[in-house]
Amino acid sequence: MNIFTSLMNTARRKSPWVFHANAGSCNGCDIEFMTCLTPRYDAEQLGIHHEGSPRHADIIVVSGPVTRTTCEALETVYGQVPDPKVVVALGSCPATCNVFAGSPTIVGPLDRVLPVDVYVPGCPPRPDAIIAGLAEAAAILAGDKPRPVHSAAQPSIADSADSEA
């Protein structure tokens, strides 16, 4: 590892920038995510910075069960985040679709659309759990932690949703 990569890795671990995409969530997870950045939890002490543009971000946090209408935009946003990137699934919704499972307007869970690296379970997860998830994502970014293996072939989105409707 040359000095430049090790410098980059330190920067990635110490200062991960986060983009948050709401893929049809109920807001519960989103406000808890916002809460992380405020005085009591203060995720910024870990260098976590909430970034408004996906092009500047390292971590993309997705909440919500991925509705049909947000799916395409989500893929676009994912494409805009520069490599290396880590996807964090915030809450039960992107992990399992939660109570919305079976709805014809939902194409989730998230791993059908994007490769998910970190799951933060909970409905919604507590702010401390979210910060732990982000710290784990930062460790993956810096190469301190192995990335989970993503199963390649996922069922086609359109098939599964159409069969219900």
Binding site: N27, G28, D30, E32, F100, P104
Partner: protein
């Protein structure tokens, strides 16, 4: 003339929605909002789940006013089945509803401060909000989806009223001493908000605005007063109304409502009778239909429920306040500067996940 599309994922937008503004120079001449990004088909799902599952489902319509939705669902069931709610449960519902209003308004005040670039106040609002979250968590065990309501009562009792009272008094104190003076007298807040995004009384009536939006435009509507439910008829409180109809008036209204909510919680805790908090087993819901409404933090919520006597509702219809308030964004934005758009939007306190369901 230029068209600027924003969204669905945009730094200034908390939730996914699209807005396309037409501008001449910096001035907005037209604005068109597209919603539906949060459409999860909750009403469709509600017809396919039994009543117990329905409560958990409807709770997740909105993560900010989750208690409102379970309360509405339960009230609709209670109305169809003519189920009595014990007195104590009514007071607990009031405490939960008002605590939720507190956290919702503080959240909104924080977001608004963030948008006008007032970071310090944003952080103040959020640290104050944490105290409300402690109250909610202390009562229900959860920070967001409280699972407090059930048909015929509530699931948990308030076992430590003293700590709730203490927290509420601190919140009222900080609000009167810090929040309200800064919000109402600070030149930055005034410069950004006064005279911006005016919704006249006529427009508010024409568009059917509800909640703090209507009250900031001089319309005195509040279901807690005009059609009291639960224990609101036993409690005394004021409904703040302002005539200006601008963003500033909406800030003031919500700040004053924080104080009113504190007052309501204090009274409810003190007047709460002893007794059971819920009836027996989950009731069977007979055939019938019901339409119920309550005053949520953002305004009037209406639920329609039809039951065909099975264990699943035949129809659940949810109409949330943002649905009524959203179209007003267009009239408010016309003629305003582009840089004020985000603030005008936010002043509605929109909740698109409620609207889309």
């Amino acid at each position: 003339m230029s068209k600027i599309p924003l969204g669905p994922f945009h730094p200034a937008l908390e939730e996914p929605y699209k807005i396309e503004v037409t501008c001449t120079g910096e001035t907005i001449t037209d604005a068109e909002i597209t919603v539906g990004f949060n459409f999860r088909g909750i009403e469709w799902l509600a017809e396919r789940k039994n009543y117990t599952q329905g409560i958990a489902l409807l709770e997740r319509v909105c993560g900010i006013c989750s208690n409102v939705h379970t309360m509405m669902f339960c009230r609709a069931v209670e109305s169809i089945g003519a189920i009595e709610v014990p007195e104590r449960a009514k007071y607990i519902r009031v405490v939960m509803a008002e605590a939720e209003r507190l956290h919702s308004h503080l959240l909104w005040a924080g977001v608004a401060c963030n948008l006008i670039g007032f970071e310090t106040l944003f952080m103040t609002c959020f640290s104050l909000r944490e105290q409300v979250m402690d109250v909610l968590e202390g009562i229900s065990g959860n920070r967001v989806n409280y699972a407090m309501n059930r048909p015929g009562g509530v699931n948990r009792d308030i076992t430590d009223p003293a700590s709730v009272l203490a927290a509420i008094r601190t919140i009222a104190d900080v609000t009167t001493k810090q929040l309200i003076p800064v919000l109402t007298t600070d030149p930055t807040v005034r410069a950004r908000c006064a005279g911006v995004g005016i919704l006249t009384r006529e427009d508010a009536i024409a568009y059917g605005a509800v909640g703090p939006m209507a009250r900031a435009s001089g319309i005195d509507i509040d279901l807690r007063k005009s059609a009291p439910y639960e224990a609101y008829d036993q409690l005394s409180f004021d409904v703040p109304v302002r005539q200006e109809g601008d963003v500033f008036a909406r800030i003031v209204i919500r700040a004053l409502e924080i104080l009113e909510s504190c007052k309501l919680i204090e009274q409810a805790i003190e007047m709460m009778p002893v007794g059971p908090i819920a009836g027996g087993l989950f009731p069977t819901v007979p055939e019938g239909e019901a339409c119920v409404r309550i005053e949520a933090p953002r305004g009037e919520v209406i639920y329609y429920m039809a039951s065909n006597g099975t264990d699943m509702p035949a129809r659940v219809r949810v109409r949330t306040p943002t649905f009524a308030n959203m179209p007003t964004a267009r009239v408010m934005a016309l003629g305003q500067g582009l840089s004020d758009l985000a603030l005008i939007q936010a002043s509605i306190d929109p909740c698109y996940s409620c609207t889309d369901r």
